[in-house]
C-alpha cells in the first residue's frame, strides 16, 4: 500500500515552501525558557562570528538594559538608529523599520520578537515588523521566550500564575527557518538571578520573582525543550519526505473544533492546536449560525474573537449556517474527512439539558465514526478579549420603570374591574397581569419582562388575594395559581422576547439589504471613478453614521483621496500610510486592527477583479461598533460593491478608448488614401516646372516667370493641404481638446481676415459684430481657422465682386454667427454633404481646387466646442453658413471705462 514515489502534493508543498524561502529572508530564533538564559548574548556572539566571517550583520534593535558583557558585544557591531517615540511623558525606544529598509543589511538582529510596539507605530507587534523585513529578503535573527507562544500561553499561565500579554502567533514561530535553543539549568539561572546578573524591570520585580521559582522554571524548560524537539522532528520529517523515503504517513488525522460564544472556547481552541501539532494534523475551526435564532451582539463578538484566535493559531476557519448545530457540524466534518471533533462542555443546569437536550449529546449521538472529544469547560485563565471591547448588557432603567408602570397599570385596571363589580373572577385579574407582562416583553425584551412577571405575581398576591395587603396566603390553592402565573409569565416573556429579537434581527438584516441595494442602485446610475467614489462615500457614511474617505490607487504616485477630502480621516497623517498598507496587503488596517492601530479610521481594501483599486477608510464616533463582525461584513459588502463599480467603470472606459482608437485608425487611413491624389498633383507641377527651368529649353523671360509662379502657387497649395490634413487628423485623434479662453469675436474674425489676406482678392467682406457682444469661450486659434476656411471657401466658390458678410448676434442661450455671400450659392441638396470630407462642389474656374477638407474641419472644430454649423441656400441667392455656439453662464463682463 505504501507508494515509494513522492506524493505530488507533498512535493508541491515543499517546492512552494522552498520558493517562499528563496524570495524571503530567513528567520532564526534564539529560543529560551525565561529571561536571563542568555538568548541575546548568544545571538550577539553568533552575530559577531558571522560578521568576522565577512557577512553583513547589523543590529536593528537590542534591549538597552543588557548586562555589561552583552553590551560590549553589541557595541562591537553596527547598530541602526532607533525610533524615539514620546508616549505619556516618557520616550520609548522602538525598532525603526524604515532605517532597516534604508540600510538593507544581509542579516538584521531584532531582539524580543514578542514585543508590543508603541501606539503610533506601523504595526502593533514587533513580529509584524519582522515579517516585513523578511518579505524584503533580509535575514532576521531574533530572540523569544517559550511563554510568548500563543498556543502555550494558557498552559504556562496555569503553571506559573503569571499571564503574559505579549504573544506571537504559532505560525510565526513555526515558520522560523532555524531554531537555536539557548538552555541552562534552572539552578544556574537562579544563581544568575541571585548574583544580580539578570535585569528585571523595577515595577515588575515582585511579580517576576514569583515567576522565577524552581518548579516554574523546570516546567517552562520542559516546554521549551519539547518545542525544540518537535521542531527537530518536523525538520527530519520534512527532509525524509523530500528524499522520497516515504513511509505511509497514515496518521492523516484532521481535527475540527467547534467555536461558540462561551468564554471556555478559547481554551478548547488552544487544546485543539496542541493536539493538532502533536498529531501533525490539519485542523479546522467552525462556528454555526443557527438560522432563525438571533444571537446577541456581545455573543457574536465573542464568536468572532474566537474565530480570529483560531486563525492566529493556524486553523482553517469556517462559519456554517444550519437549523441544528450538531447536524451542521457533523455534515461539514464528513465532507472534510474530519477524524476528531473537539467541543467544550459548558455548564448548563441539568434540567435544561434534560428538556432542551445539549449540543454535546447530539453531537456524540450523530457523529458516527468520527471521534468526539469533550473538553472540560473551565474558566479561561487569560481573558480572551481586551477589557472594554465587550460590553455587558446594561440594565436599562427606563425599560424597568416602564415594565413596573405596566404592572401598576394592570393592577389599577384589575382593581377598577373589581370595584365596579363588572367582574370579580380571579382568572380575569390574572389575565390582565399577564397582558402587562406580554406588553413589557414585546416592548422591552426579556429582562424587564421577567421582572414584570415576578412583580405581577407579588402585586396579585398583595392586593387581590385574601388576606389582602399582605403577602400571606390563606388558601393553599393560590400557591398553585402563583406558580402557574409565574411560569406562564416567564414563558410569555421568553417567547415574546425571542420573537422581538427575531423581528429586530430581520429588521436589521432588512436595513442592511436595503442599504446595499440602495448603494448598488446609486452606483449603477453614475460613471467616472470620482462620482462613484463620492456616491459610495456618501452612502457608507449614511449607513454607518460617520466619516468616509476613499483612496484610489494612482501608482506609481501615492494613492489619492477621491472622495471625502475634507474629512478628518483624510487630514489625519496616519490615514495615507494605512490606506497604502491596506492596498499593498489586501487586508484591513487602521483603528481596531493590528496595523497602524493609532490611525483614526478603519480601512478596508477595494479589491477589483485584477488588482486592488484602493481603500475605503471609515471613522465612526464609536469605533468599537466596527469590531462587530456583522458591521464589518456590511462594510466589506459596501467596499466590494464600490470595487465592482470601479472595475466596471474602468473596463467601460478602456473598451470605449479602444473603440475610439480603432475608429481613429480607420479615419486616418481613409484620410491618407483620400489625400494621396491631391498631394501628387502639386508635386508633379512643381517637379515639372523646376525641371523645365533647369533645362536649357526655356529662355523666354516671361515663360520662366510663369514657371516660377507655378512653383510658388503649387507650393502654397501643398502647404495648405498639409495644414488641413494635420489639423483634421489632430481633431480626429481627439487631441483637439480646445484650449478654451475668453475671446473677443471681432478680434478672432479680424485675424482670420488678415490671414486670408489677398486670397479674397476682389470680394468685399463686411463685418457686422456689435461692440457689446459678450466674450466667447473658445479656442481662439481653432475658431480663427473656422473663419479662414469659410472665407477661403467663399472666395473659391464665388465670382469677383461678391459681397461676403460676417455677422454675429446673441440668440437665446447661443451666439449665432453667420457667414453669408450673394454668390451663386450651394448646389441644391448639398447643404449637408458640403461638410463631408473630400466633398468637392463644382468650383469656379478661377478659384482652383480646394482640399475638400476645409468645411469638414469647420464642423469638427465647432462640434468640439459643443456648437453646431449648418449650411443653407439663401432665398435671394448665395450661401449662408450659420454657427451656433453655446453661451456660458459665467461669461465675464469687463468694463473698460
Amino acid at each position: 500500500m505504501a507508494d515509494p514515489r513522492p506524493n505530488p502534493d507533498v512535493l508541491l508543498a515543499e517546492v512552494e515552501a522552498e520558493e517562499r524561502r528563496v524570495r524571503r529572508g530567513s528567520l532564526r530564533i534564539f529560543f529560551g525558557y525565561a529571561a536571563g538564559v542568555g538568548k541575546t548574548y548568544t545571538m550577539l556572539q553568533t552575530a559577531r562570528r558571522a560578521r568576522d566571517e565577512g557577512r553583513d550583520v547589523v543590529i536593528g534593535y537590542v534591549e538597552p538594559h543588557a548586562r555589561p558583557d552583552t553590551q560590549a558585544l553589541a557595541d562591537d557591531l553596527e547598530t541602526l538608529p532607533v525610533r524615539e517615540v514620546p508616549y505619556r511623558g516618557v520616550s520609548l525606544r522602538e525598532f525603526d523599520l524604515a532605517a532597516a529598509f534604508a540600510r538593507r543589511p544581509e542579516i538584521l538582529l531584532v531582539d524580543e520578537l514578542a514585543h508590543t510596539n508603541a501606539p503610533d507605530s506601523v504595526h502593533e507587534k514587533r513580529w509584524q515588523d519582522v515579517q516585513e523585513v523578511l518579505d524584503a529578503g533580509i535575514d532576521v535573527w531574533t530572540t523569544l521566550n517559550v511563554q510568548h507562544i500563543e498556543s502555550l500561553n494558557d498552559v504556562i499561565g496555569q503553571i506559573t500564575g503569571v499571564v503574559v500579554r505579549e504573544t506571537i502567533p504559532d505560525h510565526v514561530f513555526d515558520s522560523a527557518d532555524e531554531l537555536e535553543l539557548v538552555d541552562i539549568t534552572p539552578e544556574e539561572l537562579l544563581e544568575r538571578l541571585q548574583a544580580g546578573k539578570i535585569y528585571l524591570p523595577e515595577q515588575a520585580r515582585h511579580a517576576l520573582e514569583r515567576f522565577f521559582q524552581r518548579p516554574n522554571l523546570a516546567a517552562l524548560r520542559e516546554l521549551s525543550l519539547r518545542q525544540a524537539a518537535r521542531r527537530v522532528h518536523t525538520d527530519v520529517e520534512s527532509a525524509r519526505r523530500r528524499a522520497a523515503a516515504v513511509e505511509p504517513w497514515a496518521t492523516a488525522d484532521r481535527l475540527l473544533v467547534c467555536i461558540g460564544p462561551s468564554p471556555t472556547t478559547a481554551r478548547v481552541i488552544r487544546t485543539a492546536k496542541r493536539m493538532a501539532t502533536a498529531l501533525d494534523a490539519d485542523w479546522l475551526a467552525v462556528s454555526v449560525d443557527v438560522t432563525g435564532a438571533a444571537a446577541s451582539a456581545p455573543s457574536r463578538q465573542r464568536v468572532a474573537e474566537h474565530v480570529r484566535l483560531a486563525e492566529r493559531l493556524g486553523a482553517e476557519t469556517a462559519t456554517l449556517a444550519g437549523q441544528d448545530v450538531a447536524d451542521t457540524v457533523v455534515e461539514f466534518a464528513r465532507s472534510r474527512n474530519v477524524t476528531k471533533i473537539l467541543i467544550g462542555r459548558t455548564h448548563r443546569p441539568r434540567w435544561r439539558r434534560f428538556f432542551l437536550g445539549s449540543v454535546v449529546d447530539d453531537l456524540i449521538e450523530r457523529a458516527g465514526s468520527i471521534d468526539v472529544s469533550v473538553i472540560h469547560g473551565e474558566e479561561d485563565p487569560q481573558p480572551t478579549t481586551r477589557p472594554g471591547v465587550i460590553r455587558r448588557p446594561r440594565i436599562d432603567t427606563v425599560a424597568m420603570l416602564e415594565a413596573t408602570l405596566a404592572v401598576a397599570a394592570a393592577a389599577a385596571a384589575a382593581g377598577l374591574l373589581r370595584w365596579s363589580g363588572l367582574s370579580d373572577a380571579e382568572a380575569n385579574t390574572v389575565m390582565i397581569f399577564l397582558a402587562a407582562v406580554a406588553w413589557s416583553a414585546f416592548r422591552h425584551g426579556r429582562l424587564p419582562a421577567v421582572m414584570a412577571s415576578v412583580l405581577a405575581v407579588l402585586t396579585f398576591d398583595f392586593v387581590f388575594v385574601p388576606p389582602t395587603l399582605t403577602l400571606a396566603v390563606s388558601d393553599v390553592q393560590y400557591v398553585f395559581t402563583f406558580a402557574v402565573m409565574l411560569a406562564i409569565g416567564l414563558v410569555i416573556s421568553t417567547l415574546t422576547a425571542r420573537l422581538r429579537g427575531q423581528v429586530e434581527s430581520t429588521r436589521e438584516r432588512e436595513r442592511r439589504t436595503a442599504a446595499l441595494y440602495e448603494l448598488g442602485r446609486q452606483l449603477g446610475g453614475v460613471s467616472g471613478q470620482d462620482f462613484l467614489s463620492a456616491a459610495a462615500a456618501r452612502k457608507v457614511s449614511e449607513i454607518f453614521g460617520g466619516e468616509v474617505a476613499v483612496y484610489l490607487d494612482e501608482s506609481p504616485a501615492p494613492p489619492a483621496v477621491v472622495a471625502g477630502r475634507n474629512t478628518e480621516v483624510a487630514k489625519h497623517p496616519l490615514s495615507l500610510p494605512a490606506a497604502q498598507w491596506t492596498m499593498a496587503h489586501d487586508q484591513t488596517a487602521g483603528a481596531g486592527t493590528n496595523t497602524l492601530p493609532a490611525a483614526i479610521a478603519y480601512f478596508v481594501p477595494l479589491v477589483g477583479s485584477s488588482r486592488t483599486l484602493g481603500a475605503l477608510g471609515v471613522r465612526v464616533a464609536d469605533m468599537s461598533r466596527l469590531a462587530d463582525p456583522e458591521e464589518r461584513r456590511l462594510l466589506d459588502a459596501c467596499a466590494s460593491q464600490l470595487a465592482l463599480a470601479l472595475d466596471r467603470d474602468r473596463m467601460t472606459i478602456e473598451a470605449s478608448e479602444a473603440r475610439i482608437r480603432a475608429e481613429a485608425e480607420v479615419v486616418r487611413s481613409n484620410l491618407l488614401a483620400g489625400v494621396s491624389h491631391d498631394l501628387r498633383t502639386p508635386l508633379a507641377a512643381i517637379a515639372g516646372a523646376s525641371s523645365s527651368l533647369l533645362g536649357e529649353g526655356v529662355v523666354d523671360v516671361a515663360v520662366r516667370r510663369q514657371l516660377i509662379e507655378t512653383i510658388e502657387a503649387e507650393a502654397r497649395r501643398l502647404t495648405r493641404l498639409l495644414e488641413n490634413i494635420l489639423q483634421m487628423s489632430r481633431l480626429d485623434a481627439g487631441g483637439a481638446i480646445p484650449n478654451l479662453q475668453w475671446h473677443v469675436l471681432e478680434e478672432v474674425v479680424g485675424s482670420a481676415l488678415h490671414r486670408v489676406g489677398r486670397g479674397l482678392a476682389g470680394r468685399e467682406v463686411a463685418i457686422r459684430i456689435p461692440a457689446d457682444l459678450p466674450l466667447v469661450h473658445v479656442d481662439g486659434l481653432l475658431l480663427e481657422q473656422v473663419f479662414v476656411n469659410l472665407l477661403e471657401n467663399a472666395a473659391r466658390h464665388t465670382p469677383v465682386g461678391t459681397h461676403v458678410t460676417v455677422s454675429a448676434a446673441v440668440d437665446g442661450r447661443y451666439l449665432r454667427i453667420a457667414v453669408t455671400d450673394d454668390g451663386p450659392g450651394l448646389p441644391a441638396g448639398t447643404e449637408e454633404r458640403v461638410f463631408d470630407r473630400f466633398f468637392q462642389a463644382g468650383s469656379a474656374a478661377d478659384a482652383g481646387r480646394g482640399t475638400g477638407l476645409g468645411l469638414a474641419i469647420c464642423r469638427a472644430i465647432i462640434e468640439a466646442h459643443r456648437g453646431s454649423i449648418t449650411a443653407a441656400r439663401r432665398p435671394g441667392g448665395g450661401a449662408e453658413f450659420v454657427i451656433r455656439l453655446p453661451l456660458a453662464d459665467d461669461t465675464p463682463r469687463i468694463v473698460v471705462e
Partner: protein, 227 residues
C-alpha cells in the same frame, strides 16, 4: 539695410541654401550652422549681427542655443517656427528672441522682420511724441489724436497703447503686456487684455475688424504696426 553678418542656424540643407541665396542676394554675409554645437561655436568665432534660428535641431534644443547666445550677445535673434507652435513662439520671445517667422515664409517677410529687429537694437530715447499712420500720441501731454481730432482714452487704455507704441513692429506677449499695464498679479487674465485691445481699436482704427495699428499675433500677443 547696411550689410550684416547673419548666422543661419537650421538643420535642413535646403532651407539653409535658400536663406543663404536670399540673404547674400540682399548683400549680407551669411554664416551657416546645422547643429546647436556648431551654432554656438561659429557665433563665438565670428560674432554675428543677427541670428536666424530654427528651434528644432538634431543635437540639442534650439532654446539652449538661444539662451547660450543671449548670455553674452544682444544681437537680434529671429526664430523660425511651425504654424501650430504658439507655445514655442511665446517661450522663445520670453527667452530673449526678438521675433519669429512662421514656416513657410517668404523672403520679403523675413527681411522686413530683420529690419524691425535691428531697429530695436538702438531704441530711441523716450520720444515726446509717437506718430503712426493717422495716430499721434503726445507723450508729454498724455494726449492721443486720430487725424488731428483728440480721442479720449481711459488711463489703462493709454498705458496699454503707449506700451505697444514704444516698441513698433515688435511682438509683445500677453504676459509682458499684462505685467506692464496691470502689474505682476494679473498674468493669467488674458481676456482683460483682449477687451481693452478691442476697445482701443474701436477708438483708434478706421475699421476695428481690420486693424492697422494694433495687430493680433494669434496665441502669442500683439504687435504695434510700424508701417
Amino acid at each position: 539695410m547696411t550689410p550684416l553678418t547673419v548666422l543661419v542656424v537650421e538643420d535642413q540643407e535646403s532651407i539653409r541654401r535658400f536663406l543663404h541665396a536670399s540673404l547674400a542676394g540682399a548683400g549680407h554675409r551669411v554664416l551657416e550652422a546645422g547643429t546647436a554645437a556648431a551654432a554656438l561655436r561659429t557665433a563665438r568665432e565670428s560674432p554675428p549681427d543677427l541670428m536666424i534660428l530654427d528651434l528644432g535641431l538634431p543635437d540639442r534644443d534650439g532654446f539652449e542655443v538661444l539662451r547660450g547666445f543671449r548670455s553674452w550677445s544682444r544681437a537680434p535673434v529671429i526664430v523660425l517656427s511651425a504654424r501650430d507652435g504658439e507655445a514655442d513662439k511665446v517661450a522663445a520671445l520670453d527667452a530673449g528672441a526678438d521675433d519669429y517667422v512662421t514656416k513657410p515664409f517668404g523672403v520679403g517677410e523675413l527681411l522686413a522682420r530683420m529690419r524691425t529687429a535691428l531697429r530695436h537694437r538702438s531704441p530711441p530715447a523716450d520720444a515726446e511724441s509717437i506718430v503712426a499712420d493717422r495716430l499721434r500720441i503726445d507723450v508729454a501731454a498724455r494726449r492721443v489724436s486720430v487725424d488731428g481730432s483728440e480721442v479720449h482714452l481711459t488711463p489703462l487704455e493709454y498705458k496699454l497703447l503707449l506700451t505697444l507704441a514704444r516698441c513698433p513692429g515688435r511682438v509683445l506677449t500677453h504676459r509682458v503686456l499684462l505685467r506692464e499695464v496691470w502689474g505682476p498679479d494679473a498674468t493669467q487674465e488674458v481676456h482683460y487684455l483682449r477687451v481693452f485691445v478691442a476697445s482701443l481699436r474701436r477708438k483708434l482704427e478706421a475699421d476695428a475688424a481690420r486693424p492697422r495699428l494694433i495687430i493680433t499675433e494669434p496665441g502669442v500677443g500683439y504687435r504695434f504696426s510700424d508701417t
